[in-house]
Symmetry: C2
Subunit: 406 residues, 2 copies
């Protein structure tokens, strides 16, 4: 990649990231004014560079560089244009603009592809405005999305969608949902520290972890902190603390890659001089092996319901579950060979976060390429990746698309 | 005690407890309409029974049965008329009406005392309306109280006080702050389970535990629950949990009577899929030995600031401290002898809760008598004590006052 191309990618990223609200970081919640500006800009670049542009009912943009000999065979890349509230500069956007740059490079160097190259800028992935995630890729792959769901301000998804999509219909844009591609490659920041901590440049994603979330409820008896002897308490918080220690240890022994997070906790009455009578806490656990998650779920249920102080009862309720997604092995091996050839230090790893790729993978051969996140930070204004690493990702993606489409 | 007297005490307790708000349980927050009704009723009974009644600037009522030969020597008993929000039927009120009953019994049986017998109905002890506690006994003993403090509705203490006190000035009531008594005996429910659990009828209070409250602050790094490996986390909640387990064990080893309560905890950002970056929790510890509290404070500071994960820092801040109060040994021994004589099963114990007696004890010889709390419950509508136990307390109190004043 030449300095001109580097400058071009950096310029496009900066252009989109300057569509700002008053909040810190990036705030492109789906169908918001900044989101509309950003998606319009992506579409304009596509039209300028000679892509055929489709926009579907959800506002996902498909930029096609039609193939010369096999135009019906589609090799796709892309990611999402939306961000979380107060998000970073690269999550999603890098996969869109890096993909655009990769295709532009290929066309500049090799002319039109034999198969169609498609850049996808998904409308929504983060679930930050409406209570659903991946609505862009869900719509593309024919999954039902509840159009009546509302954002915190009471605005209905369907109303916000219609208004926003109208603004994307620039001259030359077709309003159409294209067929699914033959392969899909998503370029993304890692959002974790594994690459950066080990001095690696590229992550090749084997799959996306399965994820389960539980709420554990512990009921004891609220009582006076001064007059209730230590051996006569039904302290829900102390019991919850013991459960957390046990569960953490069980998770650690079961599998070192099983993530175990107690992110949320509520204490009642939550007053310094009253023994807590009720405590709830969440458990978020993720692993790339469904069997490990099953085993942990059994341990969790056993531990939480194990008999102890008869005045304390506890239970665990699972309220979210997403299965392990295995990505395409052949595409990964091909990318591994290219990365080796390019001299990029790489690792194969599972993604701990969810991505559009897990939706696409149910319908088409899918792979992901990660680049390092400085300090492992994402979903925050401090989210960052070095320019060199951003370019290595684009270079690998371009070589992969070349291998598939030329 | 005769059945008539039993009925009289029960009737008076019921009369006061029927001054109700719409909330559950008893709600006699200081200077509120129910509080005014209750204190007026106590004063009326005093006047009817021939007591000399004084009311001070804070609304504390002093019902004096003047001594015949040594009227300037004053033997006092009493407690407070106010309750916590949604409180119980006996906390405070039992000491006021039980004291009234005891003096009435003595006068009926033995005529006027040689020394003056004084029943005190303190205006406020619970600290449930304004941000200070024991304001009744503090005012009586000459301690400064901030008259400008406000309740949650923004009403100033001094305004509420003036309006309420005006309503207590019934015909025959003197507006005056009497001198401090020679002794003070407070009859009270235990508010804990020690008497009831051991089949005991009377608790003789050796002292009131010292109490210290801390806030422990743990700062880690908030991060993605899915993409951050277990060995690369600075999880403030997991560190807080480990601190709680260690501190609880240190408290247990130090002294089995040292109470250790984590009543309040705050987690940030408190979202199931984010590793907590900041956790605070309170520690409330109490013991009747100041040295034990000092030792625990040293352990707490050592434990909280012990080096560990360099990405996590924690600190402990003490924001409340009340010293151990030793009550009068001779009064206790005298009451012990009387209890033995009456055949009451008793124990000497420290009070885990604060009481007006800890304020009075700084200025006058003070003792307390506890009666059992069913299930150890207090500060709640379920607060209860058997009629027999209520009467045993009054009988012991009457005998003690007789010994001192006749």
């Amino acid at each position: 990649m030449t300095t001109t191309q580097l400058t071009e990618l950096a310029h496009r990223l900066a252009t989109i990231n300057q569509f700002k609200t008053n909040e810190a970081g990036q705030n492109r919640l789906v169908y918001s004014p900044t989101w509309v500006e950003a998606q319009r800009q992506v579409i304009k670049w596509g039209l300028e560079l000679g892509f055929q542009v489709n926009v579907d009912d959800f506002g996902t943009a498909y930029l096609d560089m039609p193939g010369t000999t096999e135009p019906e065979a589609v090799i796709a890349t892309g990611s999402h244009i939306d961000t979380v509230a107060q998000g970073g500069q690269y999550d999603g956007l890098y996969g869109v603009l890096g993909g655009l740059q990769a295709i532009e490079n290929l066309v500049t160097e090799f002319g039109r592809p034999q198969k169609t190259l498609r850049l996808i800028s998904f409308s929504e992935e983060e679930g930050s405005r409406f209570p659903d995630t991946f609505t862009g890729s869900k719509h593309y792959t024919g999954q039902q999305v509840d159009l009546t769901m509302k954002d915190p301000a009471g605005i209905q998804f369907d109303d916000a969608r219609q208004q926003a999509v109208t603004k994307l219909m620039l001259a030359g844009v077709h309003h159409q949902l294209p067929d699914l591609p033959d392969t899909f490659t998503e370029l993304h920041i890692e959002q974790g520290p594994r690459l950066i901590d080990h001095g690696l440049q590229i992550g090749l994603v084997t799959g996306i972890v399965g994820q389960r979330r539980y709420t554990v409820t512990v009921k004891g008896i609220a009582n006076h902190a001064g007059t209730t002897p230590m051996n006569d308490r039904a302290d829900a918080l102390q019991h919850a603390v013991d459960l957390i220690v046990t569960l953490r240890e069980q998770a650690r022994r079961l599998n070192p890659d099983l993530t175990f997070t107690v992110g949320e906790m509520h204490i009642s009455p939550n007053t310094s001089n009253v023994i807590p009578g009720l405590v709830t806490f969440t458990v978020d656990c993720r692993n790339s092996d469904e069997a490990v998650l099953d085993q942990f779920e059994r341990l969790l249920q056993q531990t939480v319901t194990a008999p102890g102080n008869p005045q304390i009862t506890s239970s665990a309720d699972r309220w979210a579950k997403s299965d392990v997604t295995l990505l395409d092995r052949q595409l990964l091996e091909n990318n591994q060979a290219i990365a080796n050839q390019l001299g990029f230090k790489s690792i194969q790893l599972a993604s701990g976060a969810g991505h559009d790729s897990q939706i696409m993978a149910k319908h088409t051969r899918t792979t992901m390429i990660f680049v390092p996140s400085i300090n492992g930070i994402s979903h925050a204004p401090a989210e960052n990746t070095s320019q060199e690493d951003l370019l290595r990702g684009v270079e690998l993606l371009a070589a992969s698309l070349h291998q598939q489409a030329y």
